[in-house]
Symmetry: C2
Subunit: 190 residues, 2 copies
């Protein structure tokens, strides 16, 4: 087997999700994942530090991406615009298809420790967004509220996107979820 | 020492928070907490299953309270009204003073496992609210968004209330935080 494998990381991730779904996250081993992907365990550990990183390896990239997008938002954008611009653009980071992410959600919901890790990930994303909003001049509690609202929209839109059998792209789900949030929160007082 | 101790639970909770702050949550022992409160370790375990329950013992009560309040909201109340009514009323559950809750926040923020537990608590509260909203006729994603927005307002208002040196009551912090959320989310399109 040659050292270089075409798309080894994607194949390992797909095999891991299949085995996490079939056997449970705690039971599936790195060796069995590698075998399912037709690769060696050593190759698995060249791509992932451990079994959990298959599910959460993209978290730091997403955090840095969102932070960068908020920082580079035009000065004319208010806090919510900056956050919505960032979470909408984040769709480019979803390199697998929707079935993959739907399966990932099922694996995470089935395991208490993974659910906690997922909650911690979103809390970190929200804190990062709030921090960047403060840097560009939004005071608290506005910065925290805009960040939390943005992460809520992101999570709900992601859930709807993975569950959708049609063809809407991620950006459309962000927009329609934001519209729904506005219809829940905002009074037509005028 | 008589079996009955006036406000033993409150004294134990106060002593526990002091020791968690001074020594760290992982170091402080049930025996040292009981000694600080002038009570026995056995009395500690009559009131709390473990050290963590001192910090999170009220979580189930809060969940049931919020669920009940949403369920009994008048039919005329929309989803957000029902949630805001519930989180506003929840102020009656804060039986200690603000210093106590401020100290509790510091203890939790200083410990990764406690922070995860706190996030899980809020996720459960949000899921409970969303479920009750669906029962009274709000479809998703509206139910989830109203619940998430409500829990965000609750958390931010609680943080501001514990940090406030003035005399505003919890209900006022809920209202002003909700106003801030509206000013972040809602466009004055008219």
């Amino acid at each position: 087997m040659s050292r270089w494998q075409p798309n080894a990381q994607g194949r390992l991730a797909q095999a891991a999700l299949e085995l996490y779904s079939e056997q449970g996250f705690d039971v599936a081993s790195a060796a069995s994942i590698a075998a399912r992907a037709g690769l060696t365990e050593r190759t698995f550990f060249r791509h992932f530090a451990d079994k959990r990183e298959v599910l959460f390896g993209g978290a730091d990239e997403l955090r840095d991406f969102l932070a960068h997008k908020v920082a580079e938002a035009p000065a004319s954008a208010d806090a919510l615009d900056a956050v919505v611009g960032a979470i909408t653009a984040a769709g480019v980071l979803f390199r697998q298809d929707r079935d993959y992410y739907r399966q990932r959600q099922h694996v995470i919901y089935a395991n208490a420790a993974l659910k906690e890790r997922e909650l911690a990930k979103f809390a970190t994303l929200s804190a990062t967004l709030a921090s960047r909003l403060r840097c560009r001049g939004t005071a608290d509690p506005g910065a925290t509220l805009a960040a939390e609202a943005g992460i809520t929209v992101f999570r709900v839109a992601f859930e709807r996107w993975t569950g959708d059998t049609g063809r809407g792209d991620f950006a459309e789900f962000i927009q329609s979820t934001l519209d729904e949030l506005r219809s829940v929160i905002c009074r037509s007082a005028c």
